[in-house]
């Protein structure tokens, strides 16, 4: 989380408990107050820690919140459900479950909004949150290829672009459903979404130029 560069510097070492307490207090405050009303002084008080201690470890509110929220994504795992369809549903549901928590909603969107004007913050978010999720998409594809549900990629660059695209679609849809539409991304919704995504993925590769055939739905 922070630099620990050399070996074991002289002097009193930093309290490890403080880190835990601060991040927990941050999430608690996010739930109660939301990002914009969260103050570092209040977080310090909740954590039973001096404001100085907090500033010694994080540069500011944004960095602190990124770390606090990032811990929520530690539990994200890709379950092996046997089919690509089930895997997609599984990972989307997990992502939706995390975004259903108020500390994630409040914290994540706000720091993303802040990151628009702050390159370092954007990088921190990417490293500690986004990449962790994107790994799941990669794992899922590899597994589907092993099963024969998806063909092995021919052009690796094109394949990377597709992963990015899928990730934006999945994460974006869940985020928009949860935050903007403010409706729960429940099982039914996830199933509908996964259908569209699956058909999009498996159908979109067939023919790049032919118009798609007319269909009954939606």
């Amino acid at each position: 989380m922070q630099s620990r560069t050399p070996a074991s510097r002289a002097g009193r070492p930093r309290s490890a408990a403080a880190d835990t307490a601060i991040l927990a207090a941050t999430r608690e405050a996010l739930v109660e107050l939301g990002w914009s009303k969260l103050t570092l002084g209040d977080v310090a008080t909740r954590a039973g820690v001096a404001k100085t201690t907090l500033y010694r470890r994080w540069a500011g509110k944004n960095e602190l919140v990124v770390d606090a929220v990032a811990e929520l994504f530690d539990e994200l795992r890709l379950p092996d459900c046997g089919t690509l369809a089930a895997d997609i549903e599984g990972v989307v549901l997990q992502y939706a479950a995390i975004l259903a928590r108020p500390e994630a909603k409040s914290g994540l969107m706000s720091v993303v909004a802040e990151s628009i004007r702050d390159e370092a913050l954007r990088e921190r978010i990417r490293a500690s949150i986004v990449e962790r999720q994107k790994r799941l998409v990669l794992e899922g594809r590899a597994r589907a290829q092993q099963r024969g549900e998806l063909p092995p990629e021919s052009d690796p660059e094109e394949a990377a672009r597709t992963v990015d695209l899928i990730f934006d679609v999945v994460a974006g849809a869940v985020v928009h459903r949860t935050l903007v539409s403010a409706e729960p991304a429940d099982e039914e919704w996830v199933r509908s979404f996964a259908r569209i995504l699956l058909f999009g993925l498996t159908g979109a590769g067939e023919d790049h130029d032919a118009a798609p055939p007319p269909a009954e739905g939606p």
Copy 2:
């Protein structure tokens, strides 16, 4: 924007020019400073207006920013490109163009983040921004149905759910691409995304229970 109730109340009427100046100043400040560093005092100064005038018309920063950003969406139109595929690409591109503007990025995401803890703000966003966009999805579907590209909906409730889903997918993908991945939603990306969406929409309705057939890509 504000009450317009009776006919022509007593006392000096509110300056219409002030509204315009304030909203423009707000967008300008959003571009330069971003949401979190935007100050109502600064906006007032830029607009050549007293702080009180600003507070007389808006309850706070969030309400002001929503109105300022909402004006950006006034220009959103659905072009009639002849085919569903082209229409989808067209509207996604337009939405992407708006989200490419820094005042939209900074403003929109921040107020959405704030709206998580503020029902009234969420409603204001829905009314002045979201609904305006969702109308385009409805228009596009009606047009596609006229052309015969999409069948008329049988269950109107199911149809409404589908519109919401599509909207979350489209808007979410563009938002995520633009803000989180911080890559431009350019023509190439939009074409790829529209392909997936089109196949998803036209293919997903075919058979609700059968597994999709294996495909080549990606």
Copy 3:
């Protein structure tokens, strides 16, 4: 009180009732709020009058309060009590009675304090409040001279100086007793004060160089 320049200007004449209502409202507000918390907007509301009307007639808070307080001194009269001693007591008691009223305390001292930095205000106070009181001292001396209690003045300039001195002593003592010591200037106090003043006045003229004889008091 204010300009009334020519004869009877064209257009709607100023409401005379408004003046009365405004001054009464000013005194009422002085009692309830004191000078520093009194606002012209509040006075206008109490008087059932628009702020504009108020500003059309008075230049500001200070001028308004001077006029409002000056009306309190209209009732000041010098009773003919038969002896100089009784006359002094009588006028001091009257002055004390006015200063016992909270609107006088609050208003008078504040405008005097303001007048330190405002020549025009000082002149207005002198004209509408101070001179009115000083007249009583002049009357009292004339009456005492007629009775033979005081000798006629030889040097008119010296006499004027003495009147000023007496006035400062009398008014100053009552003001200080009432405001700074915050004790009532009741009959007992006035009697003690009048004794000192009377002996001072009648004894001080006797011998300008000789040291006063030792005495029993105070």
Copy 4:
């Protein structure tokens, strides 16, 4: 001025230099602007101090001005001039000299006016300004009694009342001369005033019931 209670509390101690700078800046602002136009923000700026520092130590403008003005009275000393007459003149002159300073004029009268509606403020003024002066009256009487110019008091309660009366007369006269009449309390005026006071004090005790003898002046 503020609490000094325990030994050396935790945390960064308050800057002593700040107190000095703030009070000096307050007097400076009083001279330039007067009480009503004096701003706490401006005082803070002049003192090179943050507004918060100022509010941490004083409850408001009035308390601050009392303390700033009170320091002016620190220099007040009773000179031993040998006779009661000379002592009176000396102390009155000193008091007049302080009241001649614009910061005293502006500040003192305004806070006294405010104190009418604020018991705590009145007490603060009494403690830090009035009592300090009243001590001089006590010293002066004791000295005169040692010299035999005044008899020792028989009734201590009556004696206290007399001290209060004298103080109101002396302070009130100087204040009224300086502020209301707006004339300097110069040596000549002080001599005339001291004469009256001296005769009043030494003569008033002689006979409580007899009418004073007719005299030549004023």
